[in-house]
Protein backbone atom coordinates (compact mmCIF):
# COMPACT_ATOMS: atom_id res chain seq x y z
CA UNK A 1 0.00 0.00 0.00
CA UNK A 2 1.38 3.43 -0.82
CA UNK A 3 1.70 5.99 1.92
CA UNK A 4 -1.13 8.10 0.52
CA UNK A 5 -3.61 5.25 0.78
CA UNK A 6 -2.40 4.48 4.27
CA UNK A 7 -2.89 8.02 5.42
CA UNK A 8 -6.38 8.23 3.87
CA UNK A 9 -7.38 4.96 5.52
CA UNK A 10 -5.94 6.05 8.85
CA UNK A 11 -7.94 9.25 8.68
CA UNK A 12 -11.08 7.29 7.87
CA UNK A 13 -10.46 5.09 10.88
CA UNK A 14 -9.81 7.97 13.24
CA UNK A 15 -12.76 10.01 12.05
CA UNK A 16 -14.94 6.94 12.54
CA UNK A 17 -14.35 7.15 16.28
CA UNK A 18 -15.64 10.70 16.33
CA UNK A 19 -18.57 9.82 14.07
CA UNK A 20 -19.54 6.80 16.21
CA UNK A 21 -19.34 9.01 19.27
CA UNK A 22 -21.81 11.52 17.84
CA UNK A 23 -23.96 8.64 16.53
CA UNK A 24 -24.32 7.11 20.00
CA UNK A 25 -25.83 10.34 21.25
CA UNK A 26 -28.06 10.60 18.19
CA UNK A 27 -29.42 7.16 19.01
CA UNK A 28 -30.08 8.37 22.56
CA UNK A 29 -32.01 11.28 21.05
CA UNK A 30 -29.45 14.02 21.61
CA UNK A 31 -27.71 16.18 19.02
CA UNK A 32 -24.14 16.99 19.99
CA UNK A 33 -22.07 19.64 18.26
CA UNK A 34 -19.29 19.03 20.73
CA UNK A 35 -17.86 15.52 20.52
CA UNK A 36 -14.58 16.98 19.28
CA UNK A 37 -14.03 18.07 22.90
CA UNK A 38 -13.67 14.46 24.04
CA UNK A 39 -11.50 13.69 21.05
CA UNK A 40 -9.28 16.56 22.22
CA UNK A 41 -9.35 15.33 25.81
CA UNK A 42 -8.29 11.89 24.64
CA UNK A 43 -5.53 13.35 22.48
CA UNK A 44 -4.14 15.58 25.20
CA UNK A 45 -4.68 13.04 27.99
CA UNK A 46 -3.07 10.12 26.22
CA UNK A 47 -0.33 12.37 24.84
CA UNK A 48 0.57 13.74 28.26
CA UNK A 49 0.48 10.25 29.74
CA UNK A 50 2.95 8.76 27.27
CA UNK A 51 5.12 11.77 26.44
CA UNK A 52 5.32 13.59 29.78
CA UNK A 53 4.64 10.89 32.32
CA UNK A 54 6.28 8.20 30.21
CA UNK A 55 3.42 5.76 30.73
CA UNK A 56 3.21 2.72 28.48
CA UNK A 57 1.15 3.33 25.33
CA UNK A 58 -1.80 1.14 26.24
CA UNK A 59 -2.12 2.77 29.64
CA UNK A 60 -1.92 6.19 28.02
CA UNK A 61 -4.72 5.31 25.60
CA UNK A 62 -6.72 3.99 28.53
CA UNK A 63 -6.23 7.27 30.33
CA UNK A 64 -7.53 9.15 27.29
CA UNK A 65 -10.62 6.92 27.22
CA UNK A 66 -11.30 7.35 30.92
CA UNK A 67 -10.84 11.10 30.64
CA UNK A 68 -13.27 11.29 27.71
CA UNK A 69 -15.84 9.07 29.40
CA UNK A 70 -15.54 10.73 32.81
CA UNK A 71 -15.78 14.29 31.57
CA UNK A 72 -18.50 13.22 29.15
CA UNK A 73 -20.59 11.94 32.05
CA UNK A 74 -19.78 14.98 34.15
CA UNK A 75 -20.92 17.38 31.43
CA UNK A 76 -24.01 15.31 30.68
CA UNK A 77 -25.14 15.37 34.27
CA UNK A 78 -26.19 19.04 34.39
CA UNK A 79 -27.08 19.05 30.68
CA UNK A 80 -29.28 15.96 31.03
CA UNK A 81 -32.57 17.83 31.18
CA UNK A 82 -31.76 19.65 27.96
CA UNK A 83 -32.89 18.31 24.62
CA UNK A 84 -32.81 19.34 21.00
CA UNK A 85 -31.21 22.66 20.21
CA UNK A 86 -30.52 23.36 23.87
CA UNK A 87 -28.45 20.24 24.28
CA UNK A 88 -26.70 20.92 20.99
CA UNK A 89 -25.67 24.40 22.06
CA UNK A 90 -24.67 23.22 25.54
CA UNK A 91 -22.31 20.65 24.03
CA UNK A 92 -20.97 23.28 21.66
CA UNK A 93 -20.42 25.63 24.61
CA UNK A 94 -18.47 23.01 26.49
CA UNK A 95 -16.35 22.12 23.47
CA UNK A 96 -15.46 25.72 22.73
CA UNK A 97 -14.82 26.33 26.42
CA UNK A 98 -12.41 23.44 26.48
CA UNK A 99 -10.72 24.53 23.28
CA UNK A 100 -10.12 28.06 24.53
CA UNK A 101 -8.93 26.54 27.79
CA UNK A 102 -6.40 24.43 25.90
CA UNK A 103 -5.19 27.63 24.26
CA UNK A 104 -3.82 28.76 27.60
CA UNK A 105 -3.09 25.32 29.04
CA UNK A 106 0.66 24.91 29.61
CA UNK A 107 2.11 21.82 31.18
CA UNK A 108 5.72 21.41 30.10
CA UNK A 109 8.11 19.13 31.89
CA UNK A 110 11.65 18.10 31.19
CA UNK A 111 11.88 14.58 29.88
CA UNK A 112 15.26 13.29 28.85
CA UNK A 113 16.69 16.79 28.47
CA UNK A 114 13.77 18.09 26.37
CA UNK A 115 10.85 20.24 27.42
CA UNK A 116 7.72 18.29 26.52
CA UNK A 117 4.03 18.89 27.00
CA UNK A 118 1.17 21.14 25.89
CA UNK A 119 2.23 24.73 25.29
CA UNK A 120 -1.02 26.64 24.95
CA UNK A 121 -1.89 27.81 21.47
CA UNK A 122 1.50 26.61 20.22
CA UNK A 123 0.24 23.10 20.59
CA UNK A 124 1.71 19.93 21.96
CA UNK A 125 4.72 18.54 20.09
CA UNK A 126 6.68 15.33 20.19
CA UNK A 127 4.13 12.73 21.15
CA UNK A 128 6.67 10.26 19.92
CA UNK A 129 5.60 6.86 21.15
CA UNK A 130 4.96 5.38 17.70
CA UNK A 131 8.25 6.75 16.39
CA UNK A 132 10.28 5.48 19.35
CA UNK A 133 8.59 2.09 19.31
CA UNK A 134 9.37 1.87 15.60
CA UNK A 135 5.76 1.45 14.48
CA UNK A 136 5.46 2.04 10.74
CA UNK A 137 2.42 3.85 9.27
CA UNK A 138 1.01 0.55 8.05
CA UNK A 139 1.40 -0.98 11.49
CA UNK A 140 -0.30 1.99 13.02
CA UNK A 141 -3.13 1.73 10.50
CA UNK A 142 -3.64 -1.88 11.58
CA UNK A 143 -3.63 -0.74 15.19
CA UNK A 144 -6.30 1.86 14.42
CA UNK A 145 -8.35 -0.79 12.62
CA UNK A 146 -8.08 -3.15 15.57
CA UNK A 147 -9.15 -0.48 18.01
CA UNK A 148 -12.08 0.45 15.79
CA UNK A 149 -13.09 -3.19 15.67
CA UNK A 150 -13.08 -3.30 19.46
CA UNK A 151 -15.47 -0.33 19.53
CA UNK A 152 -17.70 -2.04 16.97
CA UNK A 153 -17.60 -5.18 19.11
CA UNK A 154 -18.61 -3.20 22.16
CA UNK A 155 -21.58 -1.72 20.30
CA UNK A 156 -22.46 -5.21 19.08
CA UNK A 157 -22.48 -6.42 22.68
CA UNK A 158 -24.79 -3.58 23.64
CA UNK A 159 -27.02 -4.52 20.74
CA UNK A 160 -27.06 -8.13 21.83
CA UNK A 161 -27.80 -7.17 25.41
CA UNK A 162 -30.25 -4.47 26.35
CA UNK A 163 -28.03 -1.41 26.08
CA UNK A 164 -28.81 -0.44 22.51
CA UNK A 165 -32.53 -0.99 22.97
CA UNK A 166 -32.47 1.26 26.03
CA UNK A 167 -30.68 3.99 24.10
CA UNK A 168 -33.22 3.80 21.29
CA UNK A 169 -36.24 3.81 23.59
CA UNK A 170 -34.99 6.80 25.54
CA UNK A 171 -34.00 8.47 22.30
CA UNK A 172 -37.41 8.05 20.72
CA UNK A 173 -39.71 8.68 23.66
CA UNK A 174 -38.24 9.55 27.06
CA UNK A 175 -41.69 9.95 28.62
CA UNK A 176 -42.72 6.47 27.62
CA UNK A 177 -39.33 5.14 28.71
CA UNK A 178 -39.82 6.54 32.21
CA UNK A 179 -43.26 4.96 32.36
CA UNK A 180 -41.68 1.62 31.53
CA UNK A 181 -39.56 1.98 34.66
CA UNK A 182 -36.43 3.03 32.78
CA UNK A 183 -34.15 5.61 34.36
CA UNK A 184 -33.87 8.13 31.56
CA UNK A 185 -31.21 10.10 33.43
CA UNK A 186 -28.98 7.08 33.85
CA UNK A 187 -29.33 6.05 30.24
CA UNK A 188 -28.50 9.55 29.04
CA UNK A 189 -25.47 9.86 31.29
CA UNK A 190 -24.37 6.38 30.29
CA UNK A 191 -24.69 7.29 26.62
CA UNK A 192 -22.65 10.45 27.17
CA UNK A 193 -19.94 8.50 28.98
CA UNK A 194 -19.84 5.89 26.24
CA UNK A 195 -19.72 8.55 23.54
CA UNK A 196 -17.03 10.47 25.40
CA UNK A 197 -14.96 7.33 25.87
CA UNK A 198 -15.16 6.39 22.19
CA UNK A 199 -14.13 9.90 21.15
CA UNK A 200 -11.32 9.88 23.71
CA UNK A 201 -10.11 6.56 22.30
CA UNK A 202 -9.93 8.04 18.83
CA UNK A 203 -8.25 11.17 20.14
CA UNK A 204 -5.50 9.20 21.86
CA UNK A 205 -4.82 7.25 18.68
CA UNK A 206 -4.83 10.45 16.65
CA UNK A 207 -2.31 12.19 18.91
CA UNK A 208 0.15 9.32 18.61
CA UNK A 209 -0.20 9.18 14.85
CA UNK A 210 0.16 12.92 14.29
CA UNK A 211 2.78 13.39 17.07
CA UNK A 212 1.57 16.98 17.18
CA UNK A 213 -1.79 18.36 18.28
CA UNK A 214 -3.01 21.91 18.79
CA UNK A 215 -6.27 23.40 20.06
CA UNK A 216 -7.20 24.81 16.66
CA UNK A 217 -7.64 21.26 15.33
CA UNK A 218 -10.59 20.68 17.64
CA UNK A 219 -12.89 23.43 16.43
CA UNK A 220 -16.58 23.17 15.64
CA UNK A 221 -16.11 21.93 12.09
CA UNK A 222 -14.92 18.39 12.84
CA UNK A 223 -17.72 18.08 15.38
CA UNK A 224 -20.39 19.08 12.90
CA UNK A 225 -18.87 16.77 10.32
CA UNK A 226 -18.96 13.88 12.77
CA UNK A 227 -22.61 14.53 13.48
CA UNK A 228 -23.45 14.67 9.80
CA UNK A 229 -21.69 11.36 9.11
CA UNK A 230 -24.11 9.45 11.31
CA UNK A 231 -27.11 11.19 9.81
CA UNK A 232 -25.93 10.47 6.28
CA UNK A 233 -24.72 6.92 6.81
CA UNK A 234 -27.79 6.03 8.80
CA UNK A 235 -28.98 5.71 12.38
CA UNK A 236 -29.79 2.00 12.18
CA UNK A 237 -26.43 0.41 12.84
CA UNK A 238 -22.94 1.35 13.92
CA UNK A 239 -21.86 0.95 10.31
CA UNK A 240 -23.90 4.05 9.45
CA UNK A 241 -21.42 6.60 10.78
CA UNK A 242 -18.52 4.63 9.34
CA UNK A 243 -20.24 4.58 5.97
CA UNK A 244 -20.68 8.34 6.27
CA UNK A 245 -16.95 8.80 6.83
CA UNK A 246 -16.12 6.42 3.99
CA UNK A 247 -18.36 8.24 1.57
CA UNK A 248 -16.91 11.61 2.45
CA UNK A 249 -13.21 11.06 2.99
CA UNK A 250 -12.83 7.81 1.12
CA UNK A 251 -14.81 7.79 -2.07
CA UNK A 252 -14.49 11.43 -2.92
CA UNK A 253 -10.88 11.74 -1.85
CA UNK A 254 -9.98 9.02 -4.28
CA UNK A 255 -12.20 10.33 -7.06
CA UNK A 256 -9.73 12.98 -8.10
CA UNK A 257 -11.89 14.07 -11.02
CA UNK A 258 -13.94 16.04 -8.55
CA UNK A 259 -10.96 17.80 -7.05
CA UNK A 260 -11.95 21.34 -6.31
CA UNK A 261 -15.64 20.51 -6.59
CA UNK A 262 -15.54 17.74 -4.03
CA UNK A 263 -17.77 19.35 -1.47
CA UNK A 264 -20.17 20.61 -4.09
CA UNK A 265 -20.68 17.08 -5.36
CA UNK A 266 -20.68 15.57 -1.88
CA UNK A 267 -23.09 18.14 -0.49
CA UNK A 268 -25.51 17.65 -3.36
CA UNK A 269 -25.32 13.88 -3.03
CA UNK A 270 -26.01 14.02 0.68
CA UNK A 271 -28.93 16.38 0.22
CA UNK A 272 -30.45 13.99 -2.30
CA UNK A 273 -29.93 10.96 -0.06
CA UNK A 274 -31.62 12.72 2.83
CA UNK A 275 -34.65 13.53 0.73
CA UNK A 276 -35.13 9.86 -0.05
CA UNK A 277 -33.96 8.49 3.30
CA UNK A 278 -34.34 11.06 6.08
CA UNK A 279 -32.68 8.82 8.64
CA UNK A 280 -29.68 7.98 6.51
CA UNK A 281 -28.67 5.18 4.19
CA UNK A 282 -28.61 2.40 6.77
CA UNK A 283 -31.66 3.45 8.77
CA UNK A 284 -33.76 1.61 11.33
CA UNK A 285 -35.97 0.09 8.66
CA UNK A 286 -32.88 -1.38 7.01
CA UNK A 287 -31.81 -2.74 10.37
CA UNK A 288 -35.22 -4.33 10.98
CA UNK A 289 -35.20 -5.94 7.55
CA UNK A 290 -31.67 -7.18 8.11
CA UNK A 291 -32.53 -8.75 11.43
CA UNK A 292 -35.67 -10.37 10.05
CA UNK A 293 -33.60 -11.79 7.21
CA UNK A 294 -31.01 -13.18 9.63
CA UNK A 295 -33.70 -14.86 11.65
CA UNK A 296 -35.18 -16.60 8.65
Amino acid sequence: MDSYTISVLSNIGLFSFLAISAWILLIAGEISFGQQAYFALGAYGAGIATAVWQWPFALGLGFGIVLGAGIGALVAWPAMRLTGVHFAIATLAFAEFLRSGLNIFRYRREVGGYLTGPDGANGFRDIRWAYEAGVEPLGYLILIGGCLLSVIALVACLARGRGMALLRIVGEDPILAAMQGISVARVRIGAAALAGGVAGFGGGLYAHMATYVEPAQFGVMPGVHALAYGLIGGLGTVFGPILGVLVDIGALESLRVFSGYRMIVFGGLVALVLIVRPRGLLDEAALRRGLAWLRR
Partner: protein, 250 residues
Protein backbone atom coordinates in the same frame (compact mmCIF):
# COMPACT_ATOMS: atom_id res chain seq x y z
CA UNK B 1 -59.81 -6.61 52.60
CA UNK B 2 -57.22 -3.80 52.40
CA UNK B 3 -57.53 -1.59 49.34
CA UNK B 4 -55.00 -2.02 46.53
CA UNK B 5 -55.28 1.63 45.66
CA UNK B 6 -56.52 4.39 47.91
CA UNK B 7 -56.74 7.90 46.51
CA UNK B 8 -57.72 10.73 48.81
CA UNK B 9 -58.19 14.43 48.21
CA UNK B 10 -56.25 14.31 44.96
CA UNK B 11 -55.98 17.77 43.41
CA UNK B 12 -54.22 19.05 40.35
CA UNK B 13 -54.48 22.45 38.71
CA UNK B 14 -53.21 23.67 35.36
CA UNK B 15 -53.05 27.44 35.50
CA UNK B 16 -56.68 28.42 35.99
CA UNK B 17 -58.07 24.97 35.23
CA UNK B 18 -58.65 22.59 38.10
CA UNK B 19 -58.37 19.22 36.40
CA UNK B 20 -58.79 17.26 39.65
CA UNK B 21 -60.54 18.79 42.63
CA UNK B 22 -60.07 16.58 45.66
CA UNK B 23 -60.84 13.19 44.19
CA UNK B 24 -61.32 10.24 46.57
CA UNK B 25 -61.31 6.75 45.14
CA UNK B 26 -60.40 3.30 46.30
CA UNK B 27 -59.90 0.05 44.52
CA UNK B 28 -59.83 -3.47 45.97
CA UNK B 29 -57.29 -6.02 44.83
CA UNK B 30 -58.55 -7.64 41.66
CA UNK B 31 -61.32 -5.11 41.22
CA UNK B 32 -62.21 -3.52 37.88
CA UNK B 33 -63.42 0.07 37.95
CA UNK B 34 -64.95 1.87 34.99
CA UNK B 35 -64.16 5.59 34.97
CA UNK B 36 -66.44 7.75 32.88
CA UNK B 37 -67.17 11.43 32.51
CA UNK B 38 -67.57 14.10 29.86
CA UNK B 39 -64.63 15.36 27.78
CA UNK B 40 -62.20 17.37 29.87
CA UNK B 41 -63.56 16.07 33.16
CA UNK B 42 -60.12 15.04 34.39
CA UNK B 43 -60.03 11.31 33.67
CA UNK B 44 -56.73 11.32 31.83
CA UNK B 45 -55.37 13.81 34.33
CA UNK B 46 -56.08 11.29 37.08
CA UNK B 47 -54.03 8.70 35.19
CA UNK B 48 -51.28 11.25 34.60
CA UNK B 49 -51.01 11.89 38.31
CA UNK B 50 -51.28 8.21 39.21
CA UNK B 51 -48.51 7.30 36.78
CA UNK B 52 -46.31 10.16 37.98
CA UNK B 53 -46.32 12.25 34.80
CA UNK B 54 -47.66 15.15 36.85
CA UNK B 55 -47.20 15.63 40.57
CA UNK B 56 -50.44 16.33 42.44
CA UNK B 57 -50.92 19.72 44.08
CA UNK B 58 -52.53 18.03 47.06
CA UNK B 59 -53.78 14.66 48.19
CA UNK B 60 -52.43 11.17 48.70
CA UNK B 61 -52.20 8.04 46.57
CA UNK B 62 -51.68 4.85 48.52
CA UNK B 63 -50.59 1.81 46.58
CA UNK B 64 -50.66 -1.25 48.80
CA UNK B 65 -50.26 1.07 51.77
CA UNK B 66 -47.35 3.19 50.45
CA UNK B 67 -47.97 6.82 49.51
CA UNK B 68 -46.71 7.14 45.95
CA UNK B 69 -48.06 10.64 45.28
CA UNK B 70 -45.34 12.72 43.66
CA UNK B 71 -43.04 9.80 42.90
CA UNK B 72 -41.18 9.83 39.60
CA UNK B 73 -42.86 7.85 36.78
CA UNK B 74 -39.98 5.38 36.75
CA UNK B 75 -40.46 4.54 40.42
CA UNK B 76 -44.20 4.19 40.09
CA UNK B 77 -43.79 1.89 37.12
CA UNK B 78 -41.39 -0.23 39.12
CA UNK B 79 -43.95 -0.40 41.90
CA UNK B 80 -46.20 -2.27 39.47
CA UNK B 81 -48.40 0.41 37.90
CA UNK B 82 -48.71 0.39 34.11
CA UNK B 83 -50.90 2.43 31.83
CA UNK B 84 -51.98 2.70 28.25
CA UNK B 85 -52.41 5.96 26.40
CA UNK B 86 -55.46 7.59 24.93
CA UNK B 87 -53.43 8.76 21.91
CA UNK B 88 -51.28 5.62 21.69
CA UNK B 89 -47.61 5.80 22.48
CA UNK B 90 -45.71 3.30 20.40
CA UNK B 91 -42.05 3.36 19.41
CA UNK B 92 -42.51 3.75 15.71
CA UNK B 93 -38.90 3.19 14.76
CA UNK B 94 -38.62 -0.09 16.62
CA UNK B 95 -40.10 -3.45 15.73
CA UNK B 96 -43.20 -4.78 17.45
CA UNK B 97 -40.96 -7.18 19.32
CA UNK B 98 -38.77 -4.37 20.65
CA UNK B 99 -41.89 -2.42 21.57
CA UNK B 100 -42.91 -5.24 23.86
CA UNK B 101 -39.41 -5.76 25.13
CA UNK B 102 -39.33 -2.10 26.20
CA UNK B 103 -41.52 -3.08 29.13
CA UNK B 104 -39.05 -5.68 30.39
CA UNK B 105 -35.83 -3.68 30.60
CA UNK B 106 -36.33 -2.13 34.00
CA UNK B 107 -36.44 -5.51 35.67
CA UNK B 108 -33.13 -6.59 34.15
CA UNK B 109 -29.71 -6.59 35.77
CA UNK B 110 -26.93 -4.19 34.84
CA UNK B 111 -24.85 -6.94 33.31
CA UNK B 112 -27.59 -7.60 30.81
CA UNK B 113 -26.89 -4.22 29.27
CA UNK B 114 -23.91 -5.76 27.56
CA UNK B 115 -24.77 -9.38 27.40
CA UNK B 116 -27.72 -11.72 27.57
CA UNK B 117 -27.03 -15.40 27.52
CA UNK B 118 -28.44 -17.43 24.68
CA UNK B 119 -30.82 -19.20 27.05
CA UNK B 120 -32.06 -15.94 28.55
CA UNK B 121 -32.60 -14.49 25.10
CA UNK B 122 -34.50 -17.55 23.98
CA UNK B 123 -36.67 -17.52 27.08
CA UNK B 124 -37.40 -13.84 26.63
CA UNK B 125 -38.22 -14.32 22.98
CA UNK B 126 -40.62 -17.16 23.57
CA UNK B 127 -42.43 -15.26 26.32
CA UNK B 128 -42.82 -12.11 24.25
CA UNK B 129 -43.75 -14.02 21.11
CA UNK B 130 -46.46 -15.79 23.09
CA UNK B 131 -47.81 -12.42 24.10
CA UNK B 132 -47.77 -11.23 20.49
CA UNK B 133 -49.46 -14.47 19.48
CA UNK B 134 -52.31 -13.76 21.90
CA UNK B 135 -53.21 -10.91 19.59
CA UNK B 136 -52.29 -12.65 16.37
CA UNK B 137 -49.38 -10.28 15.85
CA UNK B 138 -46.56 -12.82 15.91
CA UNK B 139 -46.06 -12.73 12.14
CA UNK B 140 -45.41 -9.01 12.30
CA UNK B 141 -42.91 -9.19 15.15
CA UNK B 142 -40.14 -7.67 13.04
CA UNK B 143 -42.27 -4.95 11.43
CA UNK B 144 -42.58 -1.40 12.64
CA UNK B 145 -45.88 -0.46 14.27
CA UNK B 146 -46.56 2.02 11.47
CA UNK B 147 -47.84 -0.85 9.34
CA UNK B 148 -50.52 -1.87 11.87
CA UNK B 149 -54.20 -1.04 11.89
CA UNK B 150 -55.59 1.03 14.74
CA UNK B 151 -57.00 -2.04 16.45
CA UNK B 152 -53.69 -3.81 16.20
CA UNK B 153 -51.89 -0.79 17.63
CA UNK B 154 -54.20 -0.78 20.64
CA UNK B 155 -53.63 -4.50 21.01
CA UNK B 156 -49.89 -3.91 20.93
CA UNK B 157 -50.24 -1.38 23.75
CA UNK B 158 -52.14 -3.95 25.76
CA UNK B 159 -49.51 -6.58 25.02
CA UNK B 160 -46.78 -4.19 26.15
CA UNK B 161 -48.70 -3.51 29.30
CA UNK B 162 -48.92 -7.22 30.01
CA UNK B 163 -45.21 -7.68 29.33
CA UNK B 164 -44.52 -5.38 32.27
CA UNK B 165 -46.38 -7.80 34.60
CA UNK B 166 -48.22 -5.02 36.40
CA UNK B 167 -50.39 -5.25 39.49
CA UNK B 168 -52.39 -2.14 38.77
CA UNK B 169 -53.43 -1.42 35.19
CA UNK B 170 -54.71 1.93 33.94
CA UNK B 171 -56.41 1.72 30.55
CA UNK B 172 -57.14 5.07 28.88
CA UNK B 173 -59.87 4.67 26.25
CA UNK B 174 -58.73 1.31 24.88
CA UNK B 175 -61.54 1.32 22.31
CA UNK B 176 -61.16 4.89 21.06
CA UNK B 177 -61.77 5.06 17.32
CA UNK B 178 -63.07 1.51 17.03
CA UNK B 179 -66.23 0.19 15.39
CA UNK B 180 -68.75 -1.63 17.60
CA UNK B 181 -67.45 -4.99 16.41
CA UNK B 182 -63.87 -4.03 17.15
CA UNK B 183 -64.92 -2.67 20.52
CA UNK B 184 -66.52 -5.98 21.36
CA UNK B 185 -63.34 -7.76 20.37
CA UNK B 186 -61.03 -5.57 22.41
CA UNK B 187 -63.27 -5.87 25.46
CA UNK B 188 -63.15 -9.67 25.11
CA UNK B 189 -59.37 -9.49 24.93
CA UNK B 190 -59.20 -7.27 28.00
CA UNK B 191 -61.55 -9.53 29.93
CA UNK B 192 -59.52 -12.59 29.05
CA UNK B 193 -55.98 -11.36 29.41
CA UNK B 194 -55.81 -8.15 31.41
CA UNK B 195 -58.35 -8.56 34.16
CA UNK B 196 -57.43 -11.87 35.76
CA UNK B 197 -55.48 -11.28 38.93
CA UNK B 198 -55.11 -7.52 38.49
CA UNK B 199 -56.64 -4.33 39.75
CA UNK B 200 -57.78 -2.30 36.77
CA UNK B 201 -59.18 1.15 36.11
CA UNK B 202 -60.55 1.63 32.63
CA UNK B 203 -61.54 4.95 31.12
CA UNK B 204 -63.93 4.72 28.20
CA UNK B 205 -66.65 6.67 26.47
CA UNK B 206 -68.01 3.52 24.81
CA UNK B 207 -70.61 2.22 27.22
CA UNK B 208 -70.77 -1.33 25.84
CA UNK B 209 -67.14 -1.85 26.83
CA UNK B 210 -67.68 -0.38 30.29
CA UNK B 211 -70.78 -2.44 30.97
CA UNK B 212 -69.14 -5.58 29.67
CA UNK B 213 -66.07 -5.26 31.88
CA UNK B 214 -66.97 -3.33 35.00
CA UNK B 215 -69.30 -4.08 37.84
CA UNK B 216 -68.41 -0.79 39.45
CA UNK B 217 -68.36 2.64 37.84
CA UNK B 218 -67.16 6.04 39.00
CA UNK B 219 -68.06 9.29 37.29
CA UNK B 220 -65.92 12.41 37.10
CA UNK B 221 -67.24 15.80 36.21
CA UNK B 222 -65.08 18.93 36.14
CA UNK B 223 -62.52 17.20 38.34
CA UNK B 224 -65.06 16.09 40.94
CA UNK B 225 -66.29 12.57 41.52
CA UNK B 226 -70.06 12.79 41.29
CA UNK B 227 -70.93 9.11 41.52
CA UNK B 228 -69.32 5.81 42.45
CA UNK B 229 -71.00 2.46 42.89
CA UNK B 230 -72.48 -0.59 41.19
CA UNK B 231 -72.67 -0.14 37.43
CA UNK B 232 -76.43 -0.25 36.99
CA UNK B 233 -77.11 2.08 39.90
CA UNK B 234 -74.60 4.66 38.63
CA UNK B 235 -75.82 4.53 35.06
CA UNK B 236 -79.40 4.95 36.21
CA UNK B 237 -78.54 7.86 38.52
CA UNK B 238 -80.39 10.88 37.12
CA UNK B 239 -77.54 13.20 38.09
CA UNK B 240 -75.11 11.14 36.03
CA UNK B 241 -77.49 10.86 33.11
CA UNK B 242 -77.97 14.59 33.18
CA UNK B 243 -74.28 15.51 33.38
CA UNK B 244 -72.74 12.88 31.23
CA UNK B 245 -75.24 11.98 28.63
CA UNK B 246 -76.91 15.39 28.56
CA UNK B 247 -79.58 15.38 25.93
CA UNK B 248 -77.92 12.47 24.19
CA UNK B 249 -80.04 9.34 24.52
CA UNK B 250 -78.21 6.37 25.94
Amino acid sequence: MAAALEISGLTRRFGGVTALAGVDLSLLPGEVLGLIGPNGSGKTSLFNVLSGHYAPDAGAVRLDGRDIAGWAPRRIARAGVTRSFQNLRLLKRLSLYENLRAATHSAASGRELFWQSRAAKRRERSQLMDLLALFGLEDKADDAPGALTLVEMRQLEIARLLAARPRLVLLDEPAAGMTPAETARISRIIAEHVLPGRSVIVIEHKMPLITALCRRIAVLQAGVKIADGPARAVLDDPLVRQSYFGSRPC
